[in-house]
């Protein structure tokens, strides 16, 4: 984990609300693994006050170009969306526990919303490691789904709630539509809103599949010092730090509300 100030190479709008920012990742800083976070201080002013967690959507080794596919959700991502080539990016990372591969099972990489970028990164990582992930991404509608540049070797299924593109329904509906045998072969990596991740967790539990979630919580220090970013675990109510014991957790370890 390092703190570094990088320079923005490009920052383009893919579709309303989804942007992709490119910046240089220093040579002496480890390349993030899927699920690990880098926290960004988007401004030198005092509002917004806190760093925000992000995860990479792609990394180009030859040029050490890192990309983050992000959704504009509030004041910090608003500011981020207005950064131009040459602007600085104050980064701290990589940080936290990454997604891990379950042996002898097929990866289902599932989610949507602000999870899209990190899930694309995860799917590409799995392909590079010789796996055959099924990337299942859900959106409300076709016009809310950004065009994604994926390696052809990543099998992708787009799902839309209104049926305007791909499968009509949620990612979990799609997974349930697969042959039961195919479902039971899998393990799950998921990143999405808590409601959607809970739906995925319950389906995985029902099918007996290992499931890992990437947890998103407001954080302050990034380094495990302040105890602010915690989530309750099923182990006697112990609180787990998203930035240190996470952000990736086995889904059954967390208390789902």
């Amino acid at each position: 984990m390092k703190q570094f100030v990088s320079e923005v190479l490009e920052n383009r709008e893919l579709i309303e609300n989804y942007f992709e920012i490119s910046f240089f990742w220093p040579a002496d800083c480890r390349i993030p693994l899927p699920g690990q976070i880098v926290t960004i201080n988007v401004t030198s002013s005092s509002s917004p006050y806190l760093r925000r967690p992000f995860a990479l959507s792609s990394f180009h080794r030859d040029t050490r170009t890192a990309k983050i596919l992000y959704q504009v959700r509030g004041p910090a991502t608003q500011i981020l969306s207005r950064k131009r080539r040459g602007d600085t990016l104050d980064c701290l990372g990589p940080r936290g526990f990454a997604f891990t591969v379950e042996k002898d099972r097929r990866p289902f990489v599932v989610g949507g919303g602000f999870g899209v970028g990190p899930l694309v990164y995860a799917a590409q990582y799995l392909v590079e490691k010789g796996h055959r992930p099924l990337l299942v991404l859900g959106f409300a509608s076709k016009n809310l789904c950004p065009r994604l540049e994926l390696l052809p070797s990543v099998t992708t299924q787009i799902c839309t709630a209104d049926g305007t593109q791909g499968f009509h329904g949620t990612p979990v509906h799609y997974l349930e539509s697969l042959k039961e045998q195919k479902q039971r072969e899998g393990f799950v990596w998921t990143f999405d809103t808590r409601t959607k991740m809970k739906e995925t967790h319950l389906w995985a539990q029902k099918m007996g599949l290992p499931c890992q979630v990437c947890w998103d919580e407001v954080l302050a220090c990034t380094v495990g010092a302040c105890q602010g970013c915690t989530v309750a675990s099923t182990n006697g109510g112990t609180m787990l730090r998203t930035c240190t014991e996470g952000p990736v957790f086995r889904s059954e370890r967390l208390v789902w509300t």
């Binding site: 006050y49 806190l50 954080l219 302050a220 220090c221 010092a225």
Partner: protein, 301 residues
Amino acid sequence: MDLSLSLRGVRFPGPVGTASGTFGYAKEYESLVDFSKIAAVYTKAVTPEPRIGNPAPRLVETASGMLNSIGLANVGVEAFIRDKMPFLRTIPSKIVVNVAGSTDFDYEAVIEALEPVEGIDGYEINVSCPNVNHGGLGLGTDPTLVAAVTKAIRARTQRPLIIKLSPNVTDIAAIALAAEAEGADAVSCVNTLVGMVIDLTTKKPVLPWGTGGLSGPAILPVAVAAVYKVSRKVSIPVIGLGGISRWEDAVQHLLAGASMIQVGSGTFANPALAQEVAQGIESWARREGVFTMAEIHELAR
């Protein structure tokens, strides 16, 4: 340039420390900071038993600040001594252990356990945490209770004893005087302010107990006013904290009468802030032609 401060024979080599609750047990920042530039580390509050802390969410951002409702989550004094002190002993910064509790017994139990432990340079007594759910703002609002706690702890240690003051009171100087009268070597001024954020969707407070402690640049003027008031009433040193996010903010605290300062939540956005503030204070002092804390205070007279 000598901006050091001695408390009860312990020399703090410079005026900048990192505030309790924002710096963990120091090891968390090992790869990010230069401890030789940080004069003092105030540890996360230590309680007799381990505390899980409050339910999530524990943080909410506000304009130029944040609310926290951590709830004194800490490993407890036994694990603190066994697991956290070893690393703390290795860093050049002075180690001030923040002690929290809810009754006299809690404080005394922690002090007794810490007294034989080497490497501790002082105690900062947290009588002012607004987040512990025992039915009030804490005993830090009552000068009589603060006097009693100070007296009880003073009898048990020769180490520097700092009482951390709450701003959530009518008369902060009265609390400071009570601490001084019972033997406190310094007061730190101020802990967080009580605040609340209500979610427009749920129509309810964001934090589980409703309120939380407000930190950040938003509270700088409140903290500076408190330091100004208190330093004119007590003779013991005042350690200023609250709202520091640049060296200029720290200088305000010093000109208000503080002899040392602490950097708190400012570290979250900028882990190097404490050492930047230390550098900034020194450069400013040089430009002003002053070389000691007494001379800095003279500028303000």
